[in-house]
């Protein structure tokens, strides 16, 4: 480093501003992260303490303390959506896991054309959720939909079943679409797990007297658990932010009966323009996602430790 000369004020200035090398090297990353993540995050956090409305930009300076949070805590619609999201998440994840497991087990047994089958298996993932939403909106339509048509042609039902209108049926229909689209995520990850299982312990289990079910239960499944938890962690984040498909299929209706957290927050923020309140609900909801992620990662870590794969 050049020793600054006392005669040169410029040199002195340079020395005073000299940053430690580690900071200089990290600066680009820090600047990008600040621009992309930190500032929006802080801004939205700040706005959740204001009465910020999209239609009145100046309201962002109107500090109202924790009013939005108190309002959310007392809002029945918010907690109903919260509970419904948890329910939706639980049903969708568990069914996707079970179907994915079954799918993976079957595909792993196929001897001819397995590559083709694996590709076909991933087709549903290749569509935009919006399109899947439109497709299932049509399939479950009570007048022209495929399901009702089929049921009536087969004589299984004489009336038009209101798939997307009845509250319970509508949630079922959305879950159905969600499961159709994303079961293959579980399928693919579990299949990867099945390929990674060493054959020796399975053979040892056979000699030790296990039936095929017992081999699966006591040897295969423990090996698959880390893969299942990884899939669960990824998918819980996905499902917890479910918006597009619900928005298309029911728009949270009828009468809020399929309202999930993000359709509610989206409507509050952009339709009702109450961005401050929407941000407050968003921050509460984030905890749900964080909770599930932490939960499944804990499970993953302990399942890996069980298998002696280290933390």
């Amino acid at each position: 480093m050049v020793t600054p000369s006392i005669d040169l004020p410029n040199g002195l200035l340079m020395t005073r501003l000299k940053l430690p090398p580690w900071l200089v090297l990290l600066l680009p990353a820090i600047l990008i992260l600040m621009a992309v993540v930190l500032i929006p995050l802080l801004l939205s956090l700040y706005s959740s303490f204001t009465s910020y409305r999209l239609t009145r930009p100046d309201s962002i300076t109107n500090w109202i303390g924790t009013f939005n949070y108190e309002k959310a805590a007392k809002d029945e619609n918010f907690w109903a959506a919260f509970g419904r999201t948890v329910l939706f998440l639980t049903i969708a994840l568990n069914l996707e896991m079970l179907f994915g497991l079954g799918l993976a087990l079957m595909v792993s047994k196929v001897t001819k054309g397995q590559r083709l089958l694996r590709t076909v298996m991933m087709f549903p993932m290749m569509f935009s959720p919006i399109l899947v939403g439109f497709q299932f909106k049509f399939i479950f339509n009570d007048n022209v939909g495929l399901v009702n048509n089929a049921l009536q042609s087969l004589g299984l039902s004489s009336t038009a079943i209101p798939w997307l209108v009845d509250g319970k049926l509508a949630l079922f229909s959305i879950a159905f679409a969600e499961i159709w689209m994303s079961t293959s995520v579980f399928g693919i990850l579990i299949l990867a797990g099945l390929y990674a299982i060493p054959q020796d312990p399975l053979e040892a289990a056979k000699v030790d007297g296990c039936t095929s079910w017992q081999s699966f239960r006591f040897v295969t499944l423990p090996f698959l658990m880390p893969f299942i938890y990884i899939a669960m962690a990824i998918r819980s984040l996905d499902v917890a932010r479910a918006y597009d498909m619900v928005q298309i299929m029911t728009n949270g209706g009828p009468a809020r009966r399929t309202e999930l957290l993000w359709t509610l927050i989206g409507r509050t923020g952009y339709v009702d323009a109450k961005m401050g309140y929407a941000n407050a609900m968003g921050y509460i909801s984030i905890f749900l996602a964080i909770f599930f992620t932490v939960y499944f990662f804990k499970k993953l870590t302990s399942a890996r430790a069980e298998l002696g794969m280290g933390g």
């Binding site: 312990p201 000699v207 040897v219």
Partner: protein
């Protein structure tokens, strides 16, 4: 406990036949070792006994039951695998007790059996560990313990020591032998290591290309090999094999050196043969065992020496071929030094040059 019988057992993978109609009778309590180079079908044979491979032809009997169509779990066997095949998510205790748990035995019975097995194999301090926290030798012992808790009819070992280092291998070999003496159970053991085969077996089955080359006690296969393959496979260093022809009632090597016909062999005049002699039976005069009845003497130039302490291995040239010989009470030998060697013809072998079959009568 039970006998095992193989009757014309065949294994085919599609059009490829890897085991060719082998017959083998294993007595109750016998320790039989299947040995051979890799790809000879020994592991496949063992896996057919275990039920992990389908049997393409012939019959496998355990006790007096034909087990061809029984799944492994109904054969009452225990198997120790090369890679131990422990259940990584279970503790040592759970690994040992797993088969009994599957068989729905009572917890107290499982505990007793596990404690006994752990005691025998000195695994007691390790019972609560996971396989990932054990060394190779300890894992091997757990794998053996898992086999013995079941009191199976037959133990199957598939190259159980090949993943261990040399020292541990020797130690575990002794433990397996002790275990057999203690349990007096029928054991079928597969290895490619002829030393393991010699040291462990009651009887050795030498396999090659899906055929059985010879069955016999370790000493039988060592002293009376049926074929050149067995002669070179069993014993270390491998037997010296020199091409020769029978002429004038003697064995004549390619350079004209001639010996008497080793006793006990039937040859025809002019027959092409292979003369086989182990290093132990070729020794320099003055550094050999007391002379036996039939001895040939031959001068050879020593090219290389390998001192082993109590003896030195000499690499010499005879009839244009390298011959290994042994020197007892060794003295330093210079490279190129010519020594007179005594060949103990009583222990030498003649094989048909074409078929490789022994000409012993």
């Amino acid at each position: 406990m039970a006998q095992v019988h193989l009757r014309s057992v065949v294994k085919k993978y599609g059009g490829l036949q890897v085991v060719h109609a082998i017959n083998l009778d294993i007595a109750d309590g016998e320790f039989v070792v299947l040995v051979g180079p890799s790809g000879c079908g020994k592991s496949t044979t063992l896996r057919m006994i275990a039920g992990l491979e389908d049997i393409s032809g012939g019959e496998v009997l355990i006790g007096d039951r034909v087990v061809n169509d029984l799944p492994p779990r109904e054969r009452n066997l225990a198997m120790v695998f090369q890679n131990y095949a422990l259940y990584p998510h279970m503790s040592v205790r759970e690994n040992l007790g797993f088969s009994l748990k599957i068989a729905k035995r009572s917890q107290s019975e499982i505990d007793r059996a596990v404690d006994d097995a752990a005691e025998i194999l000195s695994l007691t301090p390790l019972l609560d560990r996971k396989p990932g926290q054990l060394s190779g030798g300890q894992r091997q012992r757990v794998a053996m313990g898992r086999a013995i808790v079941r009191h199976p009819d037959v133990f199957l070992f598939d190259e159980p020591l090949s993943n261990l280092d040399a020292k541990l291998r020797t130690q575990m070999r002794v433990e397996i032998k002790k275990l057999h003496q203690r349990l007096k159970s029928t054991i079928v053991y597969v290895t490619h290591d002829q030393v393991e085969a010699m040291t462990l077996a009651d009887r050795i089955v030498i396999m090659r290309d899906g055929h059985i080359e010879q069955i016999g006690t370790p000493l039988e296969v060592f002293e009376r090999p049926n074929t050149t393959f067995v002669a070179t496979f069993i014993g270390s260093p491998p037997m010296n094999m020199l091409p020769a022809r029978v002429g004038g009632g003697r064995v004549v090597l390619t350079d004209g050196t001639a010996f008497d016909i080793p006793p006990g062999h039937k040859v025809e005049e002019g027959q092409d043969v292979i003369f086989g002699a182990r290093a132990d039976n070729i020794m320099p005069v003055g550094h050999s065992l007391p002379a036996t009845e039939h001895v040939a003497e031959v001068k050879m130039s020593v090219q290389l020496t390998e001192p082993l302490g109590t003896e030195t291995l000499l690499f010499a040239q005879l009839a244009g071929q390298e011959v290994q010989a042994k020197m007892l009470n060794p003295r330093p030998v210079a490279s190129g030094e010519v020594l007179t060697f005594q060949i103990n013809l009583d222990k030498c072998h003649l094989f048909d040059a074409e078929t490789g079959a022994s000409l012993r009568v």
